[in-house]
Symmetry: C2
């Protein structure tokens, strides 16, 4: 399903009112790990959401700043999406796609490629660690699910790293 950006924005606005610029920051610092979006996309989508009556401008500030608030209709939509519809499993993994065709390169290139994956996974784990420390883990419900989402990331990168190391062992031995 498309529509995900729409719900990502409604989700963030369900916590508290915010302007496009604020939402952009939140994508950069945390939500973007789960659903990335560009500045251009965010502003365009906010305009559409306002036209559809799912959010509304609740305040205006300096520099043309427009703070949006979610409406009752928006909240209703969000709740329906949340557990009322099946998440479509997306199968698009560029890294793995390359693995599929790695037989076109000499084994040492393949080994280097897999080592690269392991390294990037390790780096991602470090990044997540940093993020965990930077987040304000107050006791809200938000933090419960934020923690759960973050745990997924940790398990994912850990898995990825272990797999890449294992995969390297599966290649024909050096020299």
């Amino acid at each position: 399903m498309g529509m995900s950006l729409r719900y990502a924005l409604l989700g963030l606005l369900s916590e508290r009112p915010a302007a496009g610029y604020d939402l952009l920051q939140r994508f950069k610092e945390s939500l973007g790990n789960v659903w990335s979006a560009t500045q251009s996309q965010i502003y365009t989508e906010l305009t559409k959401l306002a036209e559809a009556g799912l959010i509304e401008v609740s305040d205006e500030g300096p520099r043309g700043r427009k703070e949006y608030t979610i409406t009752a209709a928006g909240l209703a939509d969000l709740r329906i999406w949340l557990t009322g519809t099946e998440p479509k499993r997306q199968a698009r993994n560029e890294t793995l796609l390359r693995v599929f065709f790695l037989n076109l390169t000499p084994p040492d290139h393949a080994r280097a490629y897999l080592a690269g994956i392991a390294e990037r996974s390790a780096a991602a784990l470090v990044e997540l660690d940093t993020l965990r420390e930077s987040v304000d883990w107050d006791d809200s419900e938000l933090s419960r699910y934020g923690r759960i989402a973050m745990a997924w990331g940790e398990r994912f990168h850990e898995m990825n790293q272990q797999w890449a190391l294992w995969a390297r062992e599966q290649l024909p031995p050096e020299d």
Copy 2:
């Protein structure tokens, strides 16, 4: 990066010549687990690849069937993409996006949602098992990397399942 479909097709054609229809089958049965594509997309992209000189029509059969063969230019392009460029890590996971906002639903809805993830992961593991048995694991290089890619899928779904079960435990107790 976009372009991935392009390289998926070049990759398949690097193994042997094939028509759009054949490639479509291969997406359905195996490659689609890693990079999905629709019929419409495949035929359109094949036309573009032929125009760009990366593949060419090498044979024509009944019902307008056109068999394509990869050209030297196509193979060169594919090799460069394979290890010469960094795979961009994509962060778009609709399932996790919902988790982020699960605090909007009562805990038993959240529990059901997580249980659903665990179930679908288990089902995916069964599917992969079936696939493994259906694939002709001859001794080629292809099968080595096919096996490695499949192992990723197994580890991924296993991880996902374990995470979902753990996550359910993190919610406030029933009643």
